[in-house]
């Protein structure tokens, strides 16, 4: 291990991480660790990721250490790719530590189809997906909920969709928290949030959200892949979206509230977007209830999309068109979890829960492998299936990365190539593209992101998660 000075901070370099001690900056209560190799560390050092991570280390009740995953980049308040756990008795909860897209997450759907047998029907399938699943910003879906129905989605999440025939008990078993957070309280979700969300269930949204048809390209852990029901050459679908406008408004409402009440609790911050309140305070409890409700909305959103995907595949392949949910996992969430005999409120902002084989929340059918984790690559590059490890509880509060991680601003990405150039390049590689705005495609081009293979390499080597399989893109539906 070697220690160097970076921007005036003492940084100790480990095997695949960089540590900053608690005393490095006034106000830090715990040390900070960034998981990275030398190349990623260089990229991370170019923006304010580390600065933002050290700010998080000043929060009241923060436990043990704050972590940045190798895909970390500058965000607002918390860095995107940050993990921080707060003591549930003495610590705070921060809406900015979850983000505006509450329970943005990923789910993997597996078909029984071999890619080579789908052949020239792929384009029609991707086209039907784009027609059946609304994308684009603020665009409502076909499912408009009445007030009572929205209430039940907020309180019950996917459990309510089983009653409606849009989810199965089997789907719930392989969704984080069974797609239904018990602490959800629709009563503390504002009318504004409900108005933004009432017609958005079953929609992708914009930015880096997508539905992507992929092929299992390579299997690295046959046993784990077998448990997950994955094999080389299989056609699968990866869905990435969250709580849409409803979640955005919940965050907006509660950042505003906490910004106002912090003086009451004697909280001062290095950045206002870290606005927070003690978890046990009335405001902390209200936010937690609203956040869980928005998270249920996000689980339900991905489930309705799954229902639409199933309809598309049944239309296209009839009795061969079955679609099975492999797993659904969140990457913007605060959850109460037990770590080392303590109850902690673990904030994961652009980071994925990755519990190991022994954890009781790992679905029984996956206990021999660990909880599945899905890491979307940038558009046009590979995505990854990983498995959580038991050892990561001591390394990252049971967390791993959530994607490749942006390396370039959206504006800069658009200056490199036009959206139509990016589209033509993808199509030249045989990838079918359906998107709301070709002009915005360049924002999500591969060169705007870090190398996902390198990011996954670091989490594997650090023991945060294990490689299971690699997925290659075939067709993408984007907002």
């Amino acid at each position: 291990m070697t220690t160097e000075t970076v921007s005036g901070l003492p940084v100790t370099r480990g095997r695949c991480w960089y540590d900053v001690p608690a005393g490095a900056r006034p106000g830090m209560r715990v040390p900070a660790r960034v998981y990275a190799d030398e190349t990623l560390w260089e990229q991370i050092s170019k923006d304010r990721s580390l600065d933002q991570l050290l700010n998080v280390a000043t929060l009241q009740g923060v436990a043990d250490c704050v972590y940045a995953m190798p895909d970390v980049h500058e965000g607002y308040g918390f860095p995107v790719g940050g993990v921080a756990a707060m003591d549930a008795r003495t610590g705070v909860i921060s809406p900015g530590g979850v983000g505006y897209d509450i329970n943005c997450g990923v789910r993997l759907l597996a078909t029984e189809l071999e890619v080579e047998r789908v052949g020239d029907r792929l384009e029609a399938v991707v086209h039907d997906l784009s027609r059946s699943i609304p994308s684009g910003t603020g665009r409502g879906g076909r499912l408009s909920l009445a007030a009572g129905e929205l209430e039940r989605v907020l309180n019950e999440g996917c459990r309510y969709l089983v009653q409606r025939g849009e989810a199965t008990d089997d789907d719930l078993e392989v969704t984080e928290a069974h797609g239904s957070l018990a602490r959800a309280d629709a009563g503390v979700v504002s009318d504004r949030a409900r108005t933004r969300g009432h017609d958005q269930l079953g929609t992708i949204g914009s930015g880096n959200h997508f539905v992507e048809v992929q092929a299992v390209d390579e299997v690295f852990d046959e046993a784990a892949a077998g448990l997950y029901g994955l094999r080389r050459g299989q056609l699968v679908i990866l869905v990435h979206t969250g709580s849409r406008g409803l979640g955005h408004q919940v965050c907006t409402d509660y950042v505003r509230l906490m910004d106002q009440v912090m003086p009451r609790y004697g909280i001062t911050l290095p950045d206002r977007e870290l606005a927070c309140a003690p978890l046990r305070s009335p405001e902390g409890q209200r936010y937690f209830g609203a956040m869980c409700a928005a998270a249920n909305f996000a689980f339900a959103n991905r489930q309705i999309i799954t229902h639409r995907v199933r309809e598309v595949f049944r239309r296209a392949f009839r009795d061969r068109g079955s679609v099975r949910l492999v797993y659904d996992v969140a990457h913007n969430m605060a959850k109460l979890e037990e770590h080392g005999g303590r109850e902690l409120c673990v904030h994961r902002k652009g980071a994925t829960r990755a519990f190991g084989p022994r954890h009781p929340e790992t679905p029984p059918r996956y206990r021999a492998a660990g909880q599945p984790v899905f890491i979307p690559g940038s558009m046009g590059t590979a995505s990854w299936v990983l498995a959580g490890t038991d050892g990561n509880m001591a390394l990252s509060f049971g967390s791993t990365c959530h994607g490749a991680g942006r390396a370039m601003s959206r504006h800069a990405a658009k200056r490199v190539k036009s959206g139509s150039d990016v589209r033509h390049e993808l199509e030249a590689r045989g990838i079918v593209v359906r998107c709301g705005s070709t002009g915005d495609l360049a924002e999500e081009a591969p060169y705007a992101y870090k190398d996902v293979e390198r990011v996954v390499g670091v989490v594997h080597d650090a023991g945060l998660a294990r490689r299971v399989a690699r997925l290659a893109p075939l067709g993408v539906v984007k907002g």
Partner: protein
Amino acid sequence: MAGTRSSIGRSGADARRGAEHELLAHTAEVKLRVRGPDFPALAAEAGRALAALELGGEPPPATGGAREIVLRAGDLGALLVDWLNELIYLAETERWVATEFTPQPGGALELRMRARGATVDTAPSRVKAATHHGLDVRATAGGVEAEVVFDV
């Protein structure tokens, strides 16, 4: 921790009111710097910048009547964020993008704005929210200046 704080180009100005805005580099989001001779003019310019962001270019001409938006907050930073989040909410829920702004007399921590805009086919909520990150409204020799980060 070298910050990426370079300007990526001036994006607009209202010479009549002496207001202007520019977008600053940010790895994942959009950071706006806005200047005006006073806070209401700054808020109006920030509204114009938001409309351009929402629509991905020059906003269409305003149609229809004006609506008056009145907001109050504990400080100017919070007032600016509330103002922008109000416009984001209206765009997403009513498909109404405010493009023309006329400040009205108001209290010290109150914003009264008459706004006209355009109704668009698809709700353009490309911007999820205005955040409090690095929020700073400061007096300058020419008036006031602020920076605000949008989650996009």
